[in-house]
Symmetry: C2
Subunit: 121 residues, 2 copies
Amino acid sequence: MIIRIDELSDIPIYMQIRNQIVMGISDGSLAPGEQLPTVRALALEIGINTMTVSKSYQLLKTEGYIMTDRKNGARVRTTIEKQGSISESNKAELKRIVSEARLSGVPKKEIIGLVDGYYGA
Amino acid sequence: MIIRIDELSDIPIYMQIRNQIVMGISDGSLAPGEQLPTVRALALEIGINTMTVSKSYQLLKTEGYIMTDRKNGARVRTTIEKQGSISESNKAELKRIVSEARLSGVPKKEIIGLVDGYYGA
DNA sequence: TATCTGTATTAGATAGAGTAATACAAAAGA
DNA sequence: TCTTTTGTATTACTCTATCTAATACAGATA
């Protein structure tokens, strides 16, 4: 899986990495149990510091998306805990996005179409 | 319209103000042409610096949501330019949110239901 | 033994956010 | 004319988050 960093984005690098891995797990680019690149390999590939990647992995570990240990490196968890609900902050973000889209004249159907595509089958 | 600031949020105050005004315009809490509180009044009410509110208004003005002048203060624009499309950053955010919701076991219908509610009639 | 893994530590640089104290131009009202 | 109110500009300062850098460590592997 290829991680791409947007230097101009105001989203922190460690967060961009985290987000892309989460989305990769969701859309199947990263299979359950699949091994992630080592912190050093990914840091070298992207051209950033090792600790920045480590921070991403720690976050993903805390959130229950991956497992890390000194033996196997980092891997996607085979079973991810399902909260069953959307976080309040994500609801607020969703509302903001929908509001902006609506004011921009984007039809409701178009937004729902995007959600449908991102969610998948 | 009441602006509420979450001190614990990692979203900057000026951005929280901006977001709530945008959402207020979208859901009708703020009518076209309606006058917004003055920067000093809002700053006093929230308990923050005047320039922070001014920064929010400048951003909203740049984005075409409101108009400001020394005569009338700040007002919601009567006609907001419609881009007709969703920004790339909002698409990325939407994908992240949908991915997280999906991995949390949230049904697609539930997300669409939220979008439907936020968008309104 | 040498090499790989994630991680901890300490330090420093940089940028963004927010505050504070003033000040200004323009318009409105007394 | 004088005062008030409007948004805004300026300058300086503090605080925090992010990222980098250079090491080092424990544990596992070949």
